[in-house]
């Protein structure tokens, strides 16, 4: 078959002449006025028609239009959307409330399932090093009770994503564009995490001894690595919304994904959440141990769950102690990024929230300390230290009261007249940050002291230099406390605001010195120490309620801090680049936030109960019905 080109076909018809005339008049240079336009643009016909699509001049090869760097930049630079109120779907209830509940539940479970494998791995390693199977069993049990949490995290996370896409479509479209392929990496990591989770959990007894234990520990390490990577990726979305980077002032992406992720608040949030997750996870599994302890009279089980509860509390409080410092770093970075944002959080309308925070942290510290003091009854050696408890308790209570003292009150002129000024002459000075910094640091030191005397209770030092070591520890405590009080009073009240911030660094360092030197010196003093008998299970029942108080306070505290972290963006989805024009673009009152936080806390409590219940189903066997209708056990 003869292969005629279209051009040849056209040329064979009488119409060809007419078409050729049109072609010549229309396109050939120098024949028509079009040539002027063409000359002005300086491009050939192929170049001009190619962008329309796959149009070509018959018989000519397809022309690839060269895209200049400037053109490419122009097409990529798309500003952030500016949705108007009508662009936000209305489903009849507050969209923010829906997202708030789902996001907070997702964060609670996410925190739990990221933290548990972390300390499970450490406990498993401890069991391997010490050769004590009890550690291994306890680590396994911690994994068992949190296993359902992984599914719950994913289910709630999926619901959250759907809610966001439905309720905030423009915002999500923007976030998709900014983070691009990172979303796929994030999704891919779930496959990886699931693989390590199931092989780690179900392989526990299969890889229990010898070299296989190393394989098992490696699986645990990889589980944690994938989990942590998921967390830091997700954190970058939150920190991008607070302090966007890698975009220009109208929100168009100008940097690569690394520049977008690595905003000024990313690492402070990563650290803060990492530590807080451990404290939170420890507190939740502690409540499980407390419930199991109270539910049984079997001495062996009570001993096991007492030990499990103690370990959980130990994890929670130990992780909690450095948390204020991580929080301090985060706030310092927020101030450095935007002083306005920092003040909105700490000195603006959100400032009242820190009174509630003080109540929550006070509850945590009092509960943690109370549990340690109660636990001292496990060993006879504790009588040597019990005299200290009343002083520690007094310090905690006084510092707690200073911490909750408000400073800037919203007063009418009448109230100001009654008060004799805008600030009370005694309570006013106690309400500002220097006083609170002193109080917080002293509370942390007091808590560490409780922890230290608890750890010492079942030991008698055998090294000759023990008295000198003890004197050194006392001296460190005295100097640190004096330093904290002096720095707070001098820099806080006798210099200007800028120095106040600097003074808190001295205080934090003093507290850290006490904690670190205390641990180091004690570990040296009690090397080869004589160990006094400990009686696990010998602890008052009421002490277990401290283990219920901890997760409730931690959960509420996380909800509260989520409220402030999100609210400092004020009326912006993405601070300074994408405005929030939804009906919920205001900062809700602390009372409304409190009610929302209580709703999510109670929901979380119920779902955690479900998680524990499912975990116990696995070890429960229904008795077989006997011939006489009764049950055999």
């Amino acid at each position: 078959m003869k292969n005629n080109s279209p051009r040849q076909l056209i040329s064979q018809t009488p119409l060809a002449i007419l078409l050729w005339v049109i072609f010549l008049v229309g396109f050939v240079p120098g024949i028509s006025g079009a040539s002027t336009v063409q000359a002005a643009e300086g491009t050939g016909v192929e170049t001009r028609i190619a962008p329309v699509g796959r149009v070509q001049v018959e018989g000519q090869p397809i022309v690839e239009v060269e895209v200049t760097a400037a053109d490419a930049a122009e097409t990529e630079l798309i500003a952030a959307p500016r949705p108007s109120r009508k662009d936000y779907p209305n489903i009849g209830v507050s969209s923010r409330a829906v997202v708030w509940i789902l996001a907070q539940m997702h964060l609670f479970f996410g925190a739990l399932v990221l933290a548990v494998p972390l300390f499970v791995l450490v406990i498993e390693l401890t069991g391997m090093i010490t050769g004590d199977d009890r550690y291994d069993d306890m680590a396994h049990e911690f994994m068992k009770i949190s296993l359902v949490g992984f599914s719950l995290t994913a289910i709630i996370g999926g619901s959250l994503a759907l809610a966001l896409f439905m309720l905030y479509p423009d915002f999500m479209a923007y976030m998709m564009r900014v983070f691009g392929a990172q979303w796929l990496v994030y999704a891919g990591l779930f496959f990886l995490e699931s693989f390590f989770l199931y092989t780690y959990y179900y392989g526990w007894n299969a890889f229990r001894y010898g070299n296989k234990k190393w394989l098992h520990l490696t699986l645990g390490l990889m589980l944690n690595a994938s989990g942590m990577t998921i967390m830091v990726l997700a954190n970058s979305w939150a920190t991008f919304m607070m302090a966007p980077s890698g975009v220009n002032e109208v929100g168009a992406v100008v940097g690569n994904i690394w520049e977008v992720m690595k905003g000024p608040l990313w690492n402070p949030i990563n650290l803060h959440r990492f530590i807080a997750n451990i404290a939170f996870g420890g507190a939740v599994v502690g409540a499980y141990a407390a419930f199991k302890f109270l539910s049984t009279r079997d001495p062996a089980l009570r001993a096991h769950y007492d030990w499990m509860g103690y370990t959980s509390n130990f994890i929670a409080i130990l992780a909690f102690l450095p948390l204020p410092f991580a929080g301090y770093w985060l706030m310092a970075e927020i101030y450095a990024y935007s002083q306005q944002m920092g003040i909105t959080a700490m000195g603006g309308i959100l400032a009242w929230l820190f009174i509630v925070q003080a109540v929550l942290i006070g509850t945590i510290l009092l509960a943690g300390n109370f549990y340690l003091w109660s636990g001292m009854s496990r060993t006879e050696g504790s009588v040597r230290y019990q005299w200290l408890i009343k002083y520690i308790a007094a310090t905690l209570v006084i510092c707690f009261l200073i911490w909750v003292t408000p400073h800037t009150l919203i007063l009418s002129a009448r109230e100001i007249a009654a008060l004799g000024g805008s600030h009370h002459h005694i309570l006013g000075p106690l309400g500002i940050m220097p006083a609170k910094n002193i109080a917080v640091n002293l509370m942390l030191i007091a808590t560490f002291l409780s922890f230290q005397i608890y750890r010492r209770s079942d030991k008698v030092a055998t090294v000759s230099w023990a008295p000198a070591g003890n004197a050194l520890i006392v001296a460190i405590y005295v100097v640190a406390v004096a330093n904290i009080i002096f720095a707070g009073v001098y820099y806080g009240y006798f210099t200007n605001t800028l120095y106040k911030v600097g003074s808190s660094v001295i205080q934090v360092v003093s507290t850290l010195v006490v904690i670190i030197t205390g641990i180091v010196i004690d570990s040296l003093i009690f090397k080869n120490a004589k160990t006094l008998p400990s009686h696990w299970g010998r602890i008052p029942d009421r002490a277990q309620y401290a283990l219920f108080a901890l997760p409730i306070a931690f959960t509420w505290l996380m909800g509260l801090m989520g409220y402030v972290r999100s609210s400092v963006k004020t009326h912006w989805h993405v601070y300074t680049v994408m405005k929030d024009n939804s009906p919920d673009n205001f900062i809700p009152t602390i009372g409304y936030a409190g009610n929302m936080i209580t709703i999510v806390t109670v929901l979380f409590l119920l779902m955690v109960l479900f998680m524990f219940w499912v975990a116990n189903l696995g070890s429960t066997r229904q008795p077989e019905a006997s011939a006489d209708g009764g049950a055999t056990v």
Partner: protein, 286 residues
């Protein structure tokens, strides 16, 4: 660790109930604390249509004050010592302060007068940083203040002028910025919040006395009684607290022989500064 029916005591459900009551009770305590505190809602800046072309200068100044305290978020940092994170503005005469700064050898800006300096400090805050108030580590070369014409504050030109007018007027200085022209008004019609129309706060005690028409009923320069008692030696008769009380709660103690005619709403009308200025003035009349 496997449970058996034997060691799962019947107390399990009781423990569950107690633990739930305790946990929910504690949650309730936290909720109550949150609800007991002052309830403040942070509204997003409202974008309302306002006819700027019909503004009087007083309205314009009031608009500036509103912007200064709300949308501009100036008072977040510019507070009296030791609370502020930026120089105190409300407590200082900004025109006088501006002239001092213009005369400072460190000043490298382009402003020629107070209004220019204030404008420059708002849109280009790092141009001149007041000593000790710069960003940490920059040796006062960089200001921590955001440019107010950029996000997140984003004041329009007219709004910035209104703030300047307020800062000039609040201490009794002449306002040198012009009212927005009809063209500028048209350009920014949708950008500014509605003027509150609030009266300008008095800058001095005398102004405050005039503003609240104290002399309508009280003689200041004699002890003669008009509608109310004369105030020439009021500082000798009453303590500072009593004077304050007699202004904000005039019916608590009424001077013998006088009707309870003094308005009882000064506590709501006066700013705290105005009240304290009047109290100070009267307390000094001995």
């Amino acid at each position: 660790m496997t449970d058996t029916r034997d060691n799962r005591e019947s107390s399990g459900s009781k423990v569950f109930v107690y633990a739930m009551i305790f946990s929910l009770g504690l949650t309730l305590v936290f909720t109550l604390v949150a609800n007991m505190l002052p309830q403040v809602q942070g509204e997003a800046p409202s974008e309302q249509m306002v006819d700027l072309g019909s503004l009087t200068m007083d309205d314009f100044i009031a608009l500036g004050k509103d912007l200064f305290e709300n949308k501009g978020t100036c008072t977040l940092c510019h507070k009296p010592a030791p609370l502020g994170r930026a120089p105190d503005i409300e407590g200082a005469d900004m025109v006088a302060v501006s002239e001092e700064r213009l005369a400072d050898g460190r000043y490298q800006g382009e402003a020629k007068d107070a209004a220019g300096y204030i404008l420059e400090s708002m849109v280009d805050p790092s141009r001149y940083v007041v000593a000790t108030w710069g960003k940490k580590g920059t040796n006062d070369a960089e200001s921590p203040m955001p440019a107010v014409d950029k996000p997140p504050i984003q004041l329009s030109t007219v709004e910035i002028d209104a703030v300047i007018a307020y800062l000039q007027a609040k201490d009794g200085n002449e306002v040198t910025v012009s009212l927005p022209s009809p063209e500028a008004a048209a350009e920014t019609a949708a950008a500014a919040p509605a003027a509150t129309g609030a009266p300008v706060p008095a800058a001095t005690a005398d102004e405050a006395m005039t503003k609240y028409v104290c002399t309508g009923c009280h003689a200041l320069d004699s002890n003669d009684a008009l509608v109310g008692p004369g105030l020439l030696s009021v500082g000798a008769r009453l303590s500072t607290d009593e004077i304050r009380q007699s202004i904000i709660d005039p019916n608590a103690v009424i001077s013998e022989g006088f009707p309870p005619a003094m308005p009882a709403d000064f506590a709501d009308k006066m700013t705290v500064r105005e009240l304290e200025m009047i109290v100070e003035l009267l307390a000094g009349k001995k």
